[in-house]
């Protein structure tokens, strides 16, 4: 094998045909309120962690729902469970439990 001085880049798009959707399915089953998300960003706007870092809770749980678990596995640990997101959600998504459920799913499924 020849080293040409660069690596073939990986496709970074979301591939819903190949992604592992088990954590997303687990989440929908155990915290079904997540299905009601309308992507408005109220959660991110009020997020305590997000105020001090570039953590974007809306983006993180959207990635989870797309099966992009690797991308946000570390990221999700930054949530401080203050629960403000849940207070502002216009669709009543129990976001605190969404994060807890994702963590549980990661433990169980990997």
């Amino acid at each position: 094998m020849i080293n040409f001085g660069y690596k073939i880049m990986r496709d970074e798009s979301i591939d819903l045909d190949r992604n592992d959707m088990r954590i997303a399915e687990y989440l929908k089953l155990h915290e079904p309120s997540i299905k009601l998300c309308i992507g408005c960003g109220s959660c991110t706007a009020t997020c305590s962690t997000g105020h001090f870092t570039d953590f974007n809770i809306r983006q993180v749980h959207t990635f989870i729902r797309r099966g992009e678990i690797k991308r946000v596995k570390k990221e999700i640990q930054r949530c401080m469970f203050c629960g403000k997101c849940q207070l502002v959600c216009p669709r009543g998504v129990n976001l605190r439990n969404v994060i807890l459920t994702i963590n549980r799913a990661i433990e169980q499924i990997g």
Binding site: F4, G5, Y6, M9, R10, D11, S13
Partner: protein
């Protein structure tokens, strides 16, 4: 409206390229660069239409604007007649004019392009010239190119070229008076000035980085910018 925005808007390509983005994502969806890099043409248009100079300056100093391959696929699809690919060309122009390009790893590569394609245009009248396309700088050109390179005069002759000779034909020697015209066009229309700025800002940056830069390609700074991938360009900076 900011001064930087005004500067960008002086370019007709900016006027043609920025209408009103509705953030639908049809551009990012099929952008070859977006697949591999942390890049979204949609975001470029969205930032520009805020007219916020601070954000625009940050954009022009970022890696982001250098990821696009100018394939213009985005132009075909935009439902609002925007042309993100054209806007990139304007951002890159102004980034070089103001010296912002040296603030990013990908932007600094402009010096390597200037010293190859940029100078070949003036020297030969071609963007590419076979004796300059060195196999060691282009290993993926394979054994076939190594062989061609070693036997260039004979290969070109066999393939019907008029290599290095006068008169019309493939890779003919372009008459000096025509090359002089090209030089005068470059002087008259800003290319010479852009080349000067690319050199000047790069010289200062090389000094800041403590990397040796000399004329030509055989020096540490050129080698560095030509090969370095020190950042993870798939993630946010």
């Amino acid at each position: 409206m900011g001064k930087l925005y005004d500067k960008l808007a002086e370019d007709v390509r900016f006027i043609e390229g920025l209408k009103a983005c509705l953030n639908c994502g049809t551009c990012t969806a099929i952008c070859p660069a977006a697949e591999f890099y942390n890049y979204q043409p949609r975001q470029i248009v969205d930032i520009l239409q805020t007219r916020n100079d601070e954000e625009i300056e940050a954009l022009m100093k970022s890696e982001t604007i250098w990821y696009c391959g100018e394939c213009m696929s985005c132009v075909t699809r935009c439902p609002r007649g925007n042309a993100p690919g054209l806007l990139i060309t304007v951002l890159r122009s102004v980034s070089q004019e103001l010296g912002f390009f040296v603030e990013s790893e990908k932007g600094r590569q402009q010096l390597a392009i200037k010293r190859t394609v940029g100078e070949w245009i003036l020297k030969y009248g071609y963007c590419l010239y076979p004796s300059e396309i060195l196999p060691q700088m282009h290993p993926e050109q394979g054994p076939i190119w190594e062989w061609e390179h070693e036997n260039m005069d004979e290969v070109m002759h066999r393939l019907g070229a008029n290599y290095k000779k006068t008169g019309p034909g493939i890779l003919r020697k372009i008459p000096q008076e025509d090359l002089d015209e090209v030089q005068r066009i470059f002087d008259e229309t800003g290319a010479t000035e852009r080349y000067r700025k690319i050199e000047e800002f790069s010289r200062i940056k090389a000094g800041e980085m403590g990397i040796n830069l000399e004329p030509g390609l055989d020096n540490d700074y050129i080698r560095h910018i030509y090969t370095a991938n020190e950042k993870d360009h798939t993630k946010d900076a």
